[in-house]
C-alpha cells in the first residue's frame, strides 16, 4: 500500500486546550484503500486528532495535507467539501427531524421547485438500506429510535458524500455483533473502492479483524505507527497503556454463581412490571450481592426495563417490592431515596451535566438525595470526589474541569462514580463499558464484582454478551420487549446458549419455536 500516494498527511499536530495539551506533535498518514485505526486509552487524544483533521478545532502547530495540498479547514463544511466524511464519537444528529432528513441534510435531491422530497426520501431509503436499516421508514422521527440505531443513521449519512476519506470514531460502541458484522462488510466494500478509512474502537478483536495499519497515541503523544498484522496483542496493549500487558489486571474466569439461600428476601422483587408500547409485563428479582444481566438484541427492551426499575419512566402495570415492602418508585428521586441507582446508556443527553465540573457531576446525585438545603460538607465532598476519581482512574485528575471537556470514556467513569457515591443497594448499569478502553473496562468489571461481593445488587445491561455471561449470576433474556427467559448462569451457559435462546423463542408464546 505504501506504493500509493498518501491521501492525508498530518505532521506534528499540537492542540492545546486551556490547561491541557491534548495533542503534542502527533503524526498520522492515511493511504487510499486502507483501514487505519487510531489506538489509545480514553483521553489519549483520538477524537481530538480527528477533530483537528476536520477543522472542528484549530491546531496550534503542525501541518495538514489532504490530497497533496496543504489544508486548514475552517469547519466541517470545508472538510466535507474536500472529501472527508466523518461520524463523530457522540452521535450528532438533529432529533427534531426525520431519519431520512438526517441522512440527507445538506444533500437533498433537488427538482425544479427546490427540494424534491420524494426523491430525497428514496435516496435516504437507499442509504439506510445499505446499513441494514431497510425496515426504517425515512419519515420516522429520529427521536423515536434508539441511540444504537441513530449511530447507524449517522454512518448512513456519511455514505451520502462521495468521500475519499471516511472517519468513524467508535462507531461500534453501541452496536451488537450482527450489526458490527454488517458494518464491517460495508467498510470493506468502501475500502476496496479506494477510500481511506480512519477507524477508532476499543475492541481489539475488531481492530484485528478489520484494520490494516495502526497509529498509537498515549497521553497526547505519538507512540508509533505499525502494521496490524505484524503487531501481537500484548505488544499493542503495552504501547497503548505504557505498561506491559501482563500488568493489566485481567479478570479471566467466569464469576462463581452466588447461591440464594432458601427463604432469603430479594432486594427488589417486581411482578408484572410493564409499560404499554415499551415493555410488556416482566417479573424480576434481584438479591443482595447478585449480578443480574439483561441480555438481548438492540431494541429488545433492556434499557426500557432498567428505566422502569429506576422510576425514570412510569410503569402502567405491576407491583414493586423493595426489601419486602411494597413501594411506588414514581421518579428517580424516590428511587435514589430507596437506594436504587441507574447509570444511563445515553451519556450525553441523560448522563453528564456538561458545564458542571467533574466534582459537581460526581456529587450531584448524592446531594439531590440529601436535599437542596443540606450541602455536603466540604471535607466529606473532597473525600468522596477524591475516592472515586482515584478508584475509577479518571483522567485528567482535575476535579474542577467541566466534565464536557473530558474524553468520552472518562465521562463514563465520572458517571459511575456519581452513582457509587450514593451507596446504592441496587445499581443498574446500562452499557457501563461502552466506549471504555480495555484497561478501564477491566477496572469497571472488577468494580462490579467487588460491589457485588460487598453485598450490592447489580443489574448489568450490555450489548456485549461476553461480559454479561462472565459477570452475571442470573441472565434475563429479552426479545422484542418481552422477557423470554431467565437463565441461571452456571458453567454450562455460554454466549451461544443465549444467542440460541433468543433465536429459538417465539415471543408471543414464550415457548421455543
Amino acid at each position: 500500500m505504501t506504493d500509493k500516494n498518501p491521501i492525508v498527511v498530518m505532521k506534528g499536530i499540537t492542540i492545546e486546550f486551556p490547561g491541557v495539551k491534548a495533542l503534542d506533535g502527533v503524526d498520522l498518514t492515511l493511504y487510499p484503500g486502507e483501514v487505519h485505526a487510531l489506538m489509545g486509552e480514553n483521553g489519549a487524544g483520538k477524537s481530538t486528532m480527528i477533530k483537528a483533521l476536520t477543522g472542528v478545532y484549530k491546531i496550534n502547530a503542525g501541518s495538514i495535507m489532504v490530497d497533496g495540498k496543504p489544508q486548514q479547514f475552517n469547519g466541517t463544511l470545508d472538510a466535507q467539501n474536500a472529501g472527508i466524511a466523518t461520524v463523530y464519537q457522540e452521535v450528532n444528529l438533529c432529533t427534531n427531524l426525520s431519519v431520512g432528513e438526517n441522512v440527507m441534510l445538506g444533500h437533498e435531491k433537488r427538482g425544479p421547485f427546490g427540494i424534491d422530497w420524494k426523491k430525497t426520501h428514496e435516496a435516504a431509503k437507499k442509504y439506510l438500506a445499505q446499513m441494514g436499516l431497510e425496515s426504517i421508514d425515512p419519515h420516522t422521527p429520529l427521536s423515536s429510535i434508539s441511540i444504537a440505531m441513530q449511530q447507524l443513521v449517522a454512518i448512513a449519512r456519511a455514505m451520502v458524500i462521495n468521500a475519499k476519506v471516511l472517519i468513524l470514531d467508535e462507531p461500534t460502541s453501541s452496536l451488537d455483533a450482527n450489526e458490527v458484522r454488517d458494518l464491517f462488510a460495508i467498510m470493506r466494500k468502501v475500502r476496496d473502492s479506494g477510500v481511506a478509512i480512519l477507524f477508532v474502537s476499543h475492541f481489539l478483536d475488531q481492530i484485528y479483524e478489520i484494520t490494516d495499519r495502526l497509529t498509537i497515541l498515549r497521553n497526547g503523544q505519538f507512540i508509533k505507527e505499525v502494521m496490524t498484522k505484524d503487531t501481537p496483542r500484548d505488544e499493542l496493549i503495552g504501547m497503548m497503556i505504557g505498561k506491559s500487558a501482563a500488568e493489566l489486571s485481567q479478570i479471566g474466569a467466569k464469576k462463581a454463581r452466588r447461591e440464594i439461600t432458601p427463604g432469603e428476601k430479594p432486594i427488589v422483587d417486581v411482578k408484572g412490571l410493564g409499560k404499554k408500547g415499551t415493555i410488556n409485563p416482566v417479573d424480576v428479582d434481584i438479591y443482595k450481592g447478585e449480578v443480574v444481566g439483561f441480555a438481548g438484541l438492540l431494541g429488545s427492551g433492556r434499557t426500557e426495563l432498567g428505566r422502569l426499575l429506576y422510576g425514570a419512566d412510569k410503569p402502567d402495570s405491576g407491583t414493586y417490592t423493595l426489601n419486602g415492602k411494597k413501594v411506588n418508585i414514581s421518579d428517580p428521586y424516590t428511587a435514589l431515596k430507596n437506594k436504587i441507582a441507574y447509570s444511563t446508556e445515553n451519556r450525553r443527553d441523560e448522563g453528564i451535566i456538561g458545564d458542571l465540573t467533574v466534582r459537581q457531576n460526581i456529587l450531584i446525585a448524592l446531594q439531590a438525595t440529601r436535599g437542596m438545603f443540606k450541602p455536603i460538607p466540604k471535607k466529606e465532598a473532597d473525600a468522596i470526589v477524591d475516592k472515586y476519581m482515584k478508584e475509577l482512574n479518571v483522567r485528567p485528575a482535575d476535579p474542577d474541569r467541566p466534565v464536557k471537556n473530558l474524553s468520552g470514556g472518562n465521562q463514563q467513569k465520572v458517571l459511575i462514580g456519581r452513582w457509587l457515591a450514593t451507596h446504592p443497594e441496587l445499581l443498574i448499569l446500562d452499557e457501563p463499558t461502552r466506549g471504555i478502553d480495555i484497561g478501564a473496562k477491566a477496572e469497571i468489571q472488577q468494580v462490579v464484582l467487588d460491589l457485588a461481593s460487598q453485598g450490592m445488587g447489580v443489574v448489568f445491561i450490555s450489548s456485549e454478551l461476553e461480559e454479561v455471561v462472565r459477570l452475571s449470576d442470573d441472565i434475563e433474556v429479552l426479545k422484542d420487549r418481552h422477557k423470554i427467559a431467565e437463565i441461571e448462569n452456571d458453567d454450562t451457559v455460554s454466549q451461544a446458549t443465549i444467542v440460541e435462546t433468543i433465536a429459538n423463542t417465539n415471543v408471543n408464546t414464550g415457548k421455543e419455536a
Partner: protein, 356 residues
Amino acid sequence: MAEKAKAEGNNFVKKLLSSNLTWSIVAFILLVIICTIFQHDFLALSWNSNTGGLAGPLITMLQESARYLMIATGMTLVISTAGIDLSVGSVMAVAGAAAMQTLSNGMNVWLSILIALAVGLAIGCVNGALVSFLGLQPFITTLIMMLAGRGMAKVITSGENTDASAVAGNEPLKWFANGFILGIPANFVIAVIIVILVGLLCRKTAMGMMIEAVGINQEASRMTGIKPKKILFLVYAISGFLAAIAGLFATASVMRVDVVKTGQDLEMYAILAVVIGGTSLLGGKFSLAGSAVGAVIIAMIRKTIITLGVNAEATPAFFAVVVIVICVMQAPKIHNLSANMKRKRALKAQAKAVAA
C-alpha cells in the same frame, strides 16, 4: 523560579482579560470618566442635611440602581434554568399599585408592604406553576403575564396613578427608597444585602448548583434525583418576589404608582444586565456578582445619558451603542485577537517550510 512566576502572572492576566466581570468594570469606569469630562464635579459628593445623606450624581445613580439589582438578580436565576421572565416590569407595577392603593385606602404601611410583596410572590408562583407543572414555554408564559400584569395594576388602582405621598404614616416606605444608611442610599444598601443573601443561599447550599444543572440538562438532572419542576417553580417565585421589592423601590421613591410607566421596559434592562454580567441566555452557569455589576452599569448608562444631555430622540440609539460596545468588548474573538494572529503567522511559516 522567576519564569514560573511570570507564567503564572501571564495566566492570571489572561484569566482577567477573558472574564466578563473585568470588562464590565472597565465599561463602568469608562462611563464614569466620560461623565466626569462632561461635568467636572461628577464624582463630587456632598453632605445633604436635608435628606441626611450624601448627595451627588453618583448617589442618585446608586439610588436608581437598586431596582435593577433586584430584578437582575431574579432574572439571573431564571435565565440560568434556560428560562426568561418578561413579566418583572409588570410585576413591579402590580406590587407598586398594591402598596400605593392600600396605603391611600388607609392601611398600615407595614401591612401594605407585606401585601405588595405577597402579590409579587403570588404572580411569580403562577409563572412558576405554568412553566413547571403545565410545561408551558417560559417566554410566552411570562409574556402573557407581562400583558396581564399591566392590566392588574390598572384594575387595582381603577386606572388611576394612585398617589400616596400625602398619606400619613407612609414614612417607612418612603425611607426605603429615599432614606440613607450611614450616608449611603438605603435602597442601595438593602438591595446589596438582598443580592448577597441570594448569593449565599445559592452558593452555600446546593441550590445554585441544582439551578445550573437544570439549566444545562434538564433530563440528566432529573435522572440524578433533582426535581426540575420544583427548581423551576422556585426561581420564578423568587423572581416575582424580588420584582415586587423593585416595584416598591420604584414607587416609593415618589410615593406614586404610574400604571403605565412603572417598570415599563425594565425586563429588557434586567436581561441586559444579566447578559453583561456573563450569564448565557441559553442557561447554565450564572454569576450573581456579574449581574449586579451589570445592573449598576445600566443605571450608569442612564445617568450618562442625563449627564451628557443626550437628546430625548437619541437616547435609545445611545443606549444601543453602549450595549453593543460592551458586548463586543466581551467577545472572545476580541480577546483572542492577538493570540490568533500569532498562531496564524506561525502556521503559515510552518506550511511554507513544509511546502519547501
